[in-house]
Symmetry: C2
Subunit: 277 residues, 2 copies
């Protein structure tokens, strides 16, 4: 029998995921809080059927592509309609706080919980920007709960690979959140802080690749990212403190006109980038 | 008669510039502190002749593609050999401190001084990485001294356009340094500070475009950039303070779990990026 996959939330990530696995031998059920988006997804055959309470019991794997608070609400209301042993995988950018809420609900309903974080995105969001190639060359991070066995993890990993991810990596929610605070969330905070200089207003004609790179990820959906930042605030605060500390080292060397120290700071950054990629 | 152009320093910028204007109807004279580099440039016909004290009097426009301290030394020793009315244009990333030294020497020797800053680069440097397309789509910033008339500025601007620059913008050394501290130097400092988090050591597999963008310009030639940073320290310190101040705003909102404030900070950054590009 064909695998039956549910996708809750047909924004950029959910709809891109649906389009990416569309070509494999699955039946896709989708739902979105916006009825017009769902209508569009059905008309375009991005999904085969509307996901409803009536067909939830047929779902093998349910992917949740909503903001954290939307996921909590959906799972609280609908976990009871899934069959025992069905797999739930969310696509949130933080994992500890999500697991803390979802794992007990899944355990209670005999569902399998596997956290997920597709390391891909765009500066635009919503169904209209969905793209079946979005996950190519990207990592999918999975944080399987103790409820998940190897076969179930393999099931989710296989679907992710068929969506185009080049790597599927299993980790713990704790390690995930600690590293993501740095590689993703801090990048957005720093880029945003960078944009706020008064001098940004005069950059046109005086800027090139450095400015472009540093400011690209300042363009965030504030509703989603406020939730993500707050759910990972301890890790994110630690990383903000680290970058401020290192900025102050440069500042001090400049203030004191300490040429050897400044040179050493620049050299060290270069060597770390060369070594770590 | 063909325009006679001298290029002092055949590293990434000097050699790329030579290769880019090679196809126009000029005679190119070049020199480098490294005899092997000069030999290579002559063999490859990147330049036509070695630039020497003997042929300096024939040069119409002399471009200086050295580090600041190298430029001062070269001009102090060689300005006397140029003919009156010859144009000197340096390619340094800072302009006030360079103009402060070069303008008086040029005045004394009846030379014309026009500061220049090609807004292009690579994470690699040296003759081997020279590329005739390096300046395409880039801005060339010129800071002409009061010694320069419109015809002389036009002469330099025309050569720059023939090198491929898409825009040639005239400004003052003061405005140049204030804006460049932000668009270029701050980007490198922030990128370097970003690389220094302990967490960078674990980024592999957990990072995507945001990490890549934020850390790309951490790879700097520390000899050149130490000079550039110190020559523009007042502006750069002001920009570092600005980014630290704005990072602290995010930190405070996170610390206090102030959701409306955090959302507003993210929204403001997005709107500035959308408005300013």
């Amino acid at each position: 029998m064909k695998q039956r996959i549910g996708i809750v939330g047909l924004g950029l990530i959910g709809a891109s995921f649906a389009k990416a696995i569309r070509k494999t031998d699955v039946v896709l059920y989708g739902v979105d809080t916006n009825p017009a988006t769902l209508r569009f997804a059905l008309d375009e055959k991005t999904v085969d059927f509307e996901l409803t309470r009536e067909n939830l019991p047929q779902i093998d794997v349910l992917f949740l592509a909503l903001y954290p608070n939307g996921i909590f609400e959906y799972v609280r209301e609908n976990a009871q309609f899934l069959r025992q042993g069905a797999i739930i995988c969310d696509f949130c950018g933080v994992k500890q706080e999500i697991a803390a809420v979802l794992a007990p609900i899944c355990a209670q309903n005999r569902l399998v919980y596997i956290g997920g974080h597709p390391m891909a995105g765009k500066e635009r969001w919503g169904y209209a920007y969905a793209d079946e190639t979005l996950f190519e060359h990207a990592s999918m991070l999975l944080t399987p709960d103790s409820s998940a066995n190897d076969v179930q993890i393999e099931t989710v990993a296989n679907i992710c690979e068929s969506a185009g991810f080049s790597r599927v990596i299993c980790t713990t929610p704790e390690e995930h959140d600690a590293i993501i605070a740095y590689t993703s969330q801090l990048a957005h905070v720093v880029s945003g802080a960078y944009m706020k200089s008064k001098t940004a207003e005069k950059h046109d004609g005086f800027s090139a690749g450095s400015y472009r790179d540093l400011t690209r990820v300042a363009k965030l959906n504030e509703t989603m990212w406020t939730e993500l930042f707050l759910y990972n605030r301890t890790n994110l605060i630690r990383e903000i403190d680290s970058v401020i500390h290192h900025l102050e080292e440069y500042r001090k060397a400049l203030e004191e006109k300490n040429e050897p120290c400044l040179k050493e700071l620049i050299r060290e950054a270069r060597e770390r980038k060369e070594a770590l990629g």
